[in-house]
């Protein structure tokens, strides 16, 4: 991985293409508009080296030796990677671009493309990438907090989210109201939130599942 970073906090651009000349040219081009480009010769080395939490835009070639651009896209979707994907291909056709877009790509450029089109697309996505990564970061935090809960605590939490009073939750779970209150206190403590209300909002906001992760 060749590092050529400019500004420190603005999103970077990951460039994955098996053509070395093309990678370098993109880095050079992005530099002129103050965007740092990190580049990789194939999908595997990208997955090995990139920082998934760093706000970024990904430019990827469709056809590469080893893992193809589409396979990389699937992998990133599986990993809930929030970075926008821009596909470039010299082999492209309409059906290819439709497939890419259906799986969440934001753009599909046919080589040779107008560099201005690429810059426009990257700059649009760079602006979106920051908030997207922030949302993902907070989602990951909430998910992490929820993951600390025991199965019984999750049951209690889903009762709270459903808006049920403690008595009803206790009856449903076949325990005493006092026990439910202890669980509520524990949940608050484990997730380090000011109130259960805040936690409920975050879980709903990020649509985090309360099913047993195991």
């Amino acid at each position: 991985m060749i590092e050529s970073r400019g500004a420190e906090l603005s999103p970077v651009v990951h460039i994955i293409d098996d053509d070395e000349a093309l990678r370098s040219s993109l880095v050079f081009l992005l530099q002129t508009v103050g965007i740092a480009g990190l580049h990789y010769p194939d999908a595997r080395s990208f997955l090995d080296e990139f920082d998934p939490t760093e706000p970024a835009v990904v430019i990827v070639d469709v056809r590469m030796p080893g893992m193809s651009g589409f396979e990389l896209q699937e992998e990133l979707v599986r990993r809930r990677y929030p970075g926008p994907l821009i596909f470039c291909s010299a082999h492209g056709d309409v059906s290819m671009s439709v497939r890419a877009m259906q799986h969440g790509a934001v753009d599909f450029l046919m080589k040779p493309y107008d560099p201005q089109d690429l810059l426009d697309s990257v700059q649009r996505q760079v602006n979106i990438a920051g908030p997207a990564f922030a949302v993902e970061r907070s989602r990951a935090e909430v998910a992490q907090k929820v993951a600390r809960l025991t199965p019984r605590e999750r049951e209690v939490l889903s009762g709270v989210i459903a808006g049920l009073p403690s008595q009803v939750i206790a009856t449903t779970l076949g325990v005493s109201v006092k026990t439910v209150d202890v669980h509520r206190a524990n949940i608050r403590g484990k997730t380090d939130v000011e109130s259960l209300g805040v936690l409920v909002r975050d879980v709903l906001l990020h649509a985090i599942s309360l099913d047993d992760p195991s």
């Binding site: 098996d18 053509d19 000349a21 093309l22 370098s24 040219s25 993109l26 050079f28 081009l29 530099q31 002129t32 508009v33 030796p65 470039c88 010299a90 082999h91 056709d93 046919m110 080589k111 040779p112 493309y113 107008d114 560099p115 201005q116 690429l118 810059l119």
Partner: protein
């Protein structure tokens, strides 16, 4: 009736030792039968030994006989007719007739008889010479029968037979031949060359040239052009007829129009397939080039765009910056131009039609193997085909997949041909596995040093380049996969897999 007096011949015979009486012996000795009649009475004056022998009467016995005593009782040998014939000779000098004599024992002898008026010292006489034509008649009858057979056969046989004279005029033709040559019944067939074009081994020639080659027999092909239906092709032999003293030719022909038309049809189909394969291959080539150019063009325009951005940061007042800026602008426009060419090629070729069909991979390999062996033989490469027992049906562009197989095999043969030592073996295997039909081409060569499908176009060594790229394009376009690998011991394997046609789809 003014018979001139006999010329007073000198008798030169005497100088040769002949005397007049010798002529009596001559006439008496000839095997030709001679009867001498009196011109007036028509009575027999004399008969030679041959006549006496045939009629079984001595001269003395013959003399008083009348025509009825020594002729066939049939009406046409009536005495009056005989007398009239002899009289005709008396009046006109000569007269011929077919006369049936009858011997003493009753045998009827058909003869050809010539009566000749002759002046003898005793007065006018008629000499009749005749000979037994029994044999000729039976030969003639036999000939007539044979003729009628030949004619019947000629009318009914489907074979085309012609007999021609030295100038190529048709003397005899079976009905089938007349029909083939478009000659109506009862019409003069004329010369063969006016009816058909004459070919030998696809070379057009004249009748005379054909005769030259018919020594004594040679092959010939005739083309009869028809305005209203398909042309007729006849094929067979021309033979110089011995009996004809070299003047006649027998031509025996079969109508091969169906075969010739089928051949022509196949050739046209082949040409069309070939054209289609080339056409598609050209499209693939164009797409490949467009792709290979797309990469560097993109890189170049990225750089130029970057340079422009940098220049924008430099003060406009420096004249050098201004010059560089405009030069970069020109360069960008040229790159854009090239890019637009690539883009338009892509959109043009992208619409090419595909002609995919369900086909047995084994059949495609077998078809190709002929050409593979043809290429392998001169360089002593052994070719082994290993085909699965059951059909391996895949949906593909048959002709193009054939091209891919040829390409992989030819590359291997080329590799083996350049190898100094070791066996030269090429193995082509077709099998089905996990939903795909697989063709592998393995060779006993030194093995590939790199994966040719993973290299970029420009970095490939010569030879392995465009053919493999096209093969890759053809296979991947049909949802297939193509690969190359070095084998652990020695040699390489090139292969491709195409999805099997599942029930209900094919």
């Amino acid at each position: 009736m003014s018979e001139p007096a006999p010329a007073q011949h000198p008798t030169p015979l005497e100088s040769d030792g002949l005397v007049s009486s010798d002529f009596f012996f001559l006439w008496d000795a000839t095997p030709m039968c001679v009867l001498l009649h009196d011109a007036e009475t028509k009575e027999i004056i004399w008969a030679n030994a041959a006549a006496s022998r045939m009629l079984e009467f001595s001269i003395t016995e013959l003399k008083p006989l009348k025509a009825s005593d020594m002729s066939s009782p049939a009406r046409q040998y009536d005495r009056a007719i005989g007398l009239a014939w002899l009289q005709d000779a008396v009046e006109n000098g000569h007269s011929s007739i077919e006369w049936h004599y009858r011997s003493r024992s009753g045998r009827v002898i058909p003869t050809e008889a010539i009566a000749t008026r002759v002046r003898l010292s005793r007065g006018l006489a008629v000499m009749v010479q005749f000979r037994d034509i029994q044999r000729e008649l039976s030969v003639q009858r036999q000939l007539d029968i044979t003729n009628s057979y030949v004619s019947a056969i000629g009318h009914h046989a489907s074979v085309n037979i012609l007999v021609l004279d030295a100038h190529g005029a048709v003397e005899y033709a079976t009905d089938a031949a007349l029909m083939s040559l478009c000659i109506g019944p009862g019409r003069d067939p004329g010369r063969l060359a006016d009816r058909a074009e004459i070919y030998q081994a696809d070379v057009r020639m004249t009748w005379e040239e054909l005769c030259q080659s018919a020594q004594p027999v040679s092959r010939v092909r005739l083309l009869v052009r028809r305005s209203e239906s398909e042309d007729v092709w006849l094929e067979g032999t021309v033979e110089r007829l011995e009996e004809h003293a070299g003047d006649g030719y027998l031509v025996v022909l079969q109508d091969v129009s169906d075969r010739v038309h089928a051949d022509a049809h196949r050739a046209r189909e082949g040409y069309r397939e070939n054209y289609l394969a080339r056409y598609t291959a050209m499209g693939d080539m164009a797409m490949t080039i467009a792709h290979e150019l797309g990469q560097p063009l993109s890189a170049a325009s990225n750089y130029l765009r970057g340079v422009t951005a940098h220049l924008d940061g430099v003060s406009n007042e420096t004249p050098v910056a201004e010059e560089v800026r405009s030069a970069v602008g020109f360069a960008r426009r040229q790159i854009d131009r090239a890019a637009s060419v690539v883009t338009s090629v892509r959109s043009y070729v992208g619409h090419q039609e595909q002609d995919a069909q369900a086909a047995d991979l084994r059949a495609i390999v077998e078809e190709s193997s002929y050409f593979v062996r043809l290429r392998a033989r001169p360089v002593e490469v052994d070719v082994e085909l290993v085909l699965a027992d059951d059909p391996i049906m895949v949906c593909c562009e048959r002709v193009l997949i054939g091209q891919v197989i040829l390409n992989l095999c030819f590359n291997a043969i080329e590799e083996l041909a350049g190898q100094e030592h070791g066996p030269r073996r090429l193995r082509v295997q077709v099998e089905a596995s996990a939903g795909v039909g697989v063709v592998t081409v393995t060779d006993s060569g030194s093995g590939i040093a790199f994966d040719p499908f993973q290299q970029s176009f420009a970095s490939r060594p010569r030879g392995s380049g465009i053919g493999l790229i096209l093969s890759q394009r053809i296979v991947t376009r049909q949802q297939g996969r193509i690969w190359a690998k070095r084998l652990p011991e020695h040699g390489s394997e090139f292969g491709f897999a195409l999805p099997l046609v599942t029930e209900g789809r094919g």
